[in-house]
Amino acid sequence: MASEDIFQNECSEEPELEVEQRMETEDAAESEDETEAAAPTEETSPAADAATEKSVGSKSAADHERAAKLTQLPLGRVKSIMKLDPDLHLATQEAVFTVTKAVELFIASLARESYKFTAQFKKKTVQKKDVDMAISVVDCLLFLDGALK
């Protein structure tokens, strides 16, 4: 399907420098989330995988500070979203990073898909109906069907 082509070019990473400063302030708030989020993990999962546990928990605050330069979305927030999955036992920090990056790519893709309909209606502002159209037309977005009510 032609509309899926846009999902192919997803490598734009340039505008990160200008973002850094803002991220630093968000980062301060987020690292608190991070430490809070780390505690429940240690309770829910027994000491069996202690080494991996650390990769999710204690290490993350320090990593987060550096990773802020690589991701725009806060890793801590994405991690707490991931933890909503009751079946999730442990996730490495790399996995959290990958999901965060994937979500960023996803947002850009969905925005572009939606804009196709905006442009089709000869408009400049993306409306909710454009997003709905994109979701109903693009195959790999089918999982969102009905989720945005």
Binding site: F7, Q8, E10, C11, V19, E26, D49, S55, K59, A62, D63, R66, A67, K69, L70, Q72, L73, P74, R77, V78, I81, M82, L84, D85, D87, H89, L90, A91, T92, E94, A95, F97, T98, V99, K101, A102, V103, L105, F106, I107, A108, S109, L110, A111, S114, Y115, K124, T125, V126, Q127, K128, V131, D132, I135, D139, C140, L141, F143, A147, L148
Partner: protein
Amino acid sequence: MVERIEDLNLPNAVIARLIKEALPDGASVSKEARAAIARAASVFAIFVTSSSTALAHKQNHKTITAKDIMQTLTELDFESFVPSLSQDLEVYRKVVKDKKDIKASKKDAADASASGSGAATEEAT
């Protein structure tokens, strides 16, 4: 599964920026559309996580790794994300490693008997 809807919120400012960067100059996004995209992003994160969990479970391992995420994305028809993500992951690994090295050398210089640095270095591996 989801108790508080606020847990699913990603920061609005960042969402707005990501959308803006993806669209051509002069284009804008209505509030409702931005909210919809933000919610879609949260749903996407959960969708990918639960699919990865299922995948890891099938393969009899408990810890979700970056590799699981990549494999899941491929299965979910988001394979176009994978090359870019692999690159990002390389950079991430390098940054983590560099940080580890800097930390280690700093600690070494400051205090030869820095047992704390040893522990931190092990964790980061």
